[in-house]
Amino acid sequence: MSTILWLVPLIPLIGAIINGTIGSKLGERLSSGIAILSVIGAFIAAIAVVGGVSSSPGHFVESNAVAWMSVPGTPLSIPFSFHVDPLNGGMLLVITGVGALIHIYSASYMHGDKGYSRYFAYLNLFVFFMAVLVMAGNLPLLFVGWEGVGLASYLLIGFWQEKWSATQAAKKAFIVNRIGDVALLIAMFMLYREFKTLNLYGDSGILTQLTASSTFHVETGVATAIALLLFGGAAGKSAQLPLFVWLPDAMEGPTPVSALIHAATMVTAGIYLVCRFHLLFEMSPLAMQVVAWTGGLTALVAACAGVAQWDIKKVLAYSTVSQLGLMFVACGCGAFTAAMFHVTTHAFFKALLFLGAGAVIHALHGEQDMRKMGGLASKIKSTHLLVLIGTIAIAGIPPLAGFWSKDEILLAAFDHNRPVYGLAAATSALTAFYMWRMYMLTFQGSSRVDEHTAHHLHHPDTRIVLPLAILGILSVIAGFMNAPAVGLHFYSDWLAPVIPSPEHSHNSGLVMGISVVVALVASAMSVAKYKSFTVGTGAKSSPVFAFFASALRFDDLYAAIVVKPLTAAAAWSNLSVERNGARGLLRLGHSSVDFVGKSVRRWQSGIVGDYILSMAICLIVIVSVVLIAGTRGGN
């Protein structure tokens, strides 16, 4: 079993290497074939591993450790070792499963692009790093995956590298991620100082020491600091409030990339990390509050921004940020199982929506502005139907998946942190509103598509519709994996060995009722409002709308308080410290030598009389000094 564990990351790696090196010579069919097969291979291996996990007594499967970094003479030795248990087993399935679907989808979506094989190489590389991140047996290896996915997202966002905006977005994504990564790095050092090891599992692993907290007491101050730093890392990767600005710009990359990385997998790494260290977070109430409130605020801010976007992919991007905010609300309120369940369901319907949007854009030959869409329902029926399913799911209308997972989060928030529940409820209302707005603007109403594109609409082929269909089915049935109200709690039992399942809360009926009402009312309002939408009338150019459109002006805020001062500091340090300071020192040395030299040269006046005079004077001075010193010294 432990050797299959190695297959999960290695097959995509081999696929990436093949595509990366000789891909361009293989031609589109073969290179996409290799990429898809390698991810499917990983998916099958993942299924086998998960099977092994559920059958094994300790509910985990470990690989043998291959030495990586070890310094002889010190206790430090970090191996390549993988450990799969129910928590990351579930994620592994999502990553490889959804990944495979998206690979199939992009085979057709990216058809004709000159960097075809390079794209698939990057995509496979991403799956490899994501697998390493999730399955890592120790923190440095997790960090390898953590920055690896950052690298993959940098490469994929900046895939169309002629576009300046694309490379700019890629750079922005990597740097903002790096800020989070540094927080994670420092958390690692603190953990090493506290627990004397970097291994997560095994007898002396950090998590085992945490569970047996009776033998190992960590004062809350240190626990809070580590927890907050971990959350800082998670916020960077999962685009939470201070560091979410990179996700909307990441839409510059190809749509399947947004689907895979910026919806289903990479952005959820932050939640995985927090859930993995849930014991540490539970040790410090302050950290839980911070996580909850940051999640709540991010959700609300992103939802508001989502309402005012005209670009179809930006809407989905802000929706992702908002949903991630909700997941962190769940973590903040102690419902880690609910968070992980929402991660899973969100992966399905958000991937569906993104791929659907991709199909729409593909059909309209790259048009992304919703003001130039409308009335497509009749033209691309299958896509329309599946996007409808996705919209219903995300809007939280029962019986689809979104409702069940979001409801549990609202329930947990309601029990533990009432104000944050308010934020979450408002967010879910807004979510329903802007998702239906997107659906209405694209598929219903009068067609605003210009006749040229409308004339030869590009009908998506099976390789695009098939993944959509599968995701549609999953969005429908996934909800029933964990619907406690209806008595189904398969998912929480599955996670039980790692995260204790939440106790039954008595007011689940009330919360469920509220959320259903909220969802339906918001959806109805949105449908009514955008049924007959024409470009002129619809666009209320009210200041509030504009304020929301620019993501509450966070970009300008960061430009003012972060980017400008740093560039000024760089310019200052280069100019005044480097040019004048350091080299000024050299000039100072130079000029002082000159000054003394000049006076020496002036003393050398060239007139013999002066020379003899100065010699006489010096002689007299020396004589007097010696006489005084000599006689006084003598007696």
Partner: protein, 101 residues
């Protein structure tokens, strides 16, 4: 011994410092020579005085050396100075300031 030794020493020191003053203030090379000769003779005086007082022939022997050397020095010096000031109209040591800095 009619005149005590330190009278001679003081006299020679006075002559010596007069010589130094002459060398430093005068600008005509000939006068500078004369001042240097004055200094040398001041030294001769003190040598003779010491020799006489110590009853040792060393002082006189050195004085003779001094005179011989002074003669050689002056002859060479005059040769050089004449070579220089043949072309220049006024005889002024301060003219020699080509080499400086």
């Amino acid at each position: 011994m009619s005149i005590p030794l330190n009278y001679y020493i003081v006299l020679s020191m006075i002559l010596f410092s007069l010589g130094i003053a002459g060398v430093t203030t005068r600008r005509n090379p000939i006068l500078i020579f004369m001042s240097i000769e004055l200094m040398l003779n001041a030294v001769n005086l003190s040598l003779i005085a010491f020799g006489r007082y110590l009853g040792d022939a060393g002082g006189q022997m050195l004085t003779i050396f001094v005179m011989a050397v002074a003669a050689a020095e002056v002859s060479v010096g005059l040769g050089i100075l004449i070579a220089i000031f043949r072309t220049k109209d006024n005889v002024d040591v301060d003219v020699l300031n080509g080499l400086k800095g």
